[in-house]
Symmetry: D2
Subunit: 107 residues, 4 copies
């Protein structure tokens, strides 16, 4: 892995988080939202793979009395692979219960 | 139209705008993004219809050398119908060239 | 209150919410963030008064092990007054514990 | 510079961009918004320095007939220094006219 690949991987995870946290989500549109978020990641430079998942159990628990909620850091998982000048970096964003934090890390 | 319906219509258009402006978009994922944005609007209380369109000509013109751009106010159109206690409001957001502004208005 | 004033009030509350949810916040920058959010609301058409508050107790409880968190719907309060053609509307956004929802309503 | 420092630097720039693009801005609140954005960057792990600037000339040109506009990629500059386990990375986000793109790069 190169520094530049690591840099680009960090960009992708934070872009996803700060663009989409707060978006209206329910079990009905969660999959559509996942695909749209992945499509946004894949457009960005150097991305070779992107996976986004919304935790359905946490989503169900968070639903308001209107049947939906806002996308929260707790329920968002993402994994991205980037390749820059032949060097690859893979990184993950995942809620860390102990840190109470959406931890992003290089694999 | 009631005041409450008008209030709810305003909420929906501004939510769309401030949630999604900045999202990575290209001709490839524009339709998927439109459907995802509509799904987010439809989850919100009182919405009976929602339509979101990304202006493809403006999108093409705005593309970076990486083949995509960030969603801008200039290229975003939306129309929403809400119904609150039997009263309906319909509102539109559309770029106003003269005002240089994403004007939101009740129909 | 007119329909147009109600519409504009709804726009302002939703713009605030969907623009700033997810922003890094701690007891250190909460006041600065409140002032910046108010300044954004005041720029928008027809706004005559804007007040934004971040609930410090909820903020403290939500802190990660890094000493900050992301701005959440639970901790955000806002009140806005707009005046359109002599007609005024006042609206509030506040977390509703029962509905588990950031309720926006006209006063 | 280490890979981890580079990764963290990328996170910070993209977080800034995708959180704040779209925010209402004018010459009146530009400085307050710059300070608020810097405060958000400084809260994040490993940040030792953060600088955010809104290009005033581009801002003036982009103003709507309502005297403000939405924060755009063209007008946003940021520089961040992070330090992870003794290793430092410095990165910049700046509009690239040729690429028509808010380029983020390691220094």
């Amino acid at each position: 892995m190169s520094e530049k690949a690591a840099f680009e991987a960090g960009i992708k995870l934070a872009a996803l988080f700060h663009q989409f946290i707060g978006a209206p989500v329910s079990p009905e549109n969660a999959e559509l939202l996942e695909r749209a978020m992945e499509s946004c990641m894949r457009l960005q430079p150097y991305v070779v793979e992107a996976e986004v998942r919304i935790n359905r159990k946490k989503l169900e628990k968070a639903l308001s009395s209107y049947g939906y909620t806002s996308l929260t850091p707790e329920m968002l998982y993402a994994k991205v692979s980037v390749e820059v000048e032949g060097e690859r970096a893979v990184a993950v964003m995942e809620w860390d219960e102990e840190k109470n934090y959406p931890l992003m890390r290089l694999l």
